[in-house]
Point group: C2
Chain length 191, copies 2
């Protein structure tokens, strides 16, 4: 998605520790109008797949998932990072290591909201090592729901998480794929 690549080039910054900061439009300040374009693109890609629910993880997946869900006219379920008193009853859960934050998170989804009757699209902001996405896929497996695929805004392709998941036969569509990123801020997109 060319407009996304342009946005990353003009507003993204590369920080120490191999971190791509896109907090100006994606995951701290949110350019809602631009995210709507992203949602439209995910809908174009997955529109004929029978999606009835979108699954994402809090916090930074929520905005993109909601903007995308408007095009599918379906609800969003967001996995919580800790089990809270807001969630009732029994849950699906899976653990994910966060390389950004340097800790482990347990993602949790109430069994009330995903079932074998669902046809899910997973949406997330980033895919790097694939830990968070792996946990969401684990939750989908536990639920018995059908999965049409994963829509990712930015994939750091050189970290291999995406290809490992594709090798499992799972469809992963990334709107921007970064082939390499250097400490001096150079970003190269995969073609």
């Amino acid at each position: 998605m060319l407009s996304l690549e342009r946005r990353i080039m003009s507003e993204g910054t590369v920080a120490k520790g191999d971190v791509l900061r896109v907090d100006r439009f994606l995951n701290h300040m949110v350019d809602v109008r631009f995210l709507s374009e992203i949602g439209r693109e995910f809908h174009r890609i997955f529109s004929d797949c029978g999606v009835n629910k979108i699954l994402t993880a809090e916090a930074s997946g929520i905005a993109i998932a909601c903007m995308t869900a408007q095009f599918f006219d379906c609800p969003v379920v967001f996995a919580k990072k800790s089990r809270t008193s807001n969630i009732s009853g029994s849950v699906y859960s899976a653990s994910a290591h966060s390389y950004t934050h340097g800790n482990d998170n347990t993602l949790t989804v109430s069994r009330d909201y995903i079932s074998p009757d669902d046809t899910l699209l997973i949406i997330d902001d980033f895919l790097a090592h694939g830990a968070a996405l792996g946990a969401l896929l684990d939750i989908v497996s536990q639920s018995g729901a059908a999965l049409v695929g994963c829509g990712i805004v930015i994939e750091k392709a050189y970290q291999g998480g995406g290809d490992a998941i594709r090798a499992r036969g799972i469809r992963v569509e990334s709107l921007a794929k970064i082939e390499s990123m250097s400490d001096d801020g150079e970003i190269v997109f995969a073609r």
Copy 2:
């Protein structure tokens, strides 16, 4: 907002510890179409106030803030619950006790995204004791931005947080105000 009260009556449940669970449409599964109605209502209330940015807190405020921002055609800034490597530079921060989760959170916003030039609307899902909203107000103060008010989806009015904030001269508009809630599930709305 009558449709919201109806939704709370039909799908909300009262749980031990004075918790109102609305995870079926608001803060775990998200009914995006309904949240768009909520956003339209916030826009109706605050449309003539010159809002150029919406401020909320992760995670459960993000969906509502984004749906609301579409009507204002403005970006959302969501306060993060911990300082992460995703946020660059210096920040505003304020501490809030979470009665739901039983811990303290530090809300953090990058100084890059709120400034004295901004006219902010705060949006959040719940207002009870007012701890989270108090922290957001503290951040607005630190930034020097103008604040038009706070749009809250559900206020637990009997817990006093809303009135304490109104007593400071801050406009707080809640779409559903709960006057009382009993352990056997009875919910009474304020009129």
